[in-house]
Symmetry: C2
Subunit: 123 residues, 2 copies
Amino acid sequence: MDPDQVARAFVEHYYSTFDTNRGGLGNLYQDGSMLTFEGQKIQGSQNIVAKLTALPFQQCQHIISTVDCQPSGPVGGMLVFVSGNLQLAGEQHPLKFSQMFHLMPTPQGSFYVLNDIFRLNYA
Amino acid sequence: MDPDQVARAFVEHYYSTFDTNRGGLGNLYQDGSMLTFEGQKIQGSQNIVAKLTALPFQQCQHIISTVDCQPSGPVGGMLVFVSGNLQLAGEQHPLKFSQMFHLMPTPQGSFYVLNDIFRLNYA
């Protein structure tokens, strides 16, 4: 499968899960996974999901603008770089965001998120 | 040395070189390095520098807003995620940008850029 297709499929799955069932994101992380969310460092699937589900908004929609991907080196990983808009329920204007994921292959032929860095770009 | 300090030192070196002597960036890339610049994929130090020096502006200044970093896995790499403003000479308003670097260790104890993804966030 084309890496760009894999990246886009991952991104669609990630944000549709985020927007409809945030707790379901736990399956995409493992114990060694890292999230840096607006500068705050969090490690491990359980802590990451706790952070994401505790964000101070209930309903949101991610609207993707761009998805770029590159292979990350010898161990079969993939870097995915996303820019887009985050529309919070009840807010008039969306927030711009950028996010990068480092996906690593699992023995089952799937991917998990090893690295995740998220930033809002206050426009 | 603290990874955050390494990341910040790299970022300062990278953008001051970009803003004063773009051709000097070639030393930071290798033949296997990849740049995705606004969706265009370029490989190899020589091609990357050719792209960066051919950008349609002569003078610019990168003003960094945030630098995040995480270790990228078992081979000693480091992910660096940057957001900031790009001020072009003669333009009134700066452009917002996001950029990620995947730094890999060299045998000499330094780092080179394996992956580089750059995007403007048209604000």
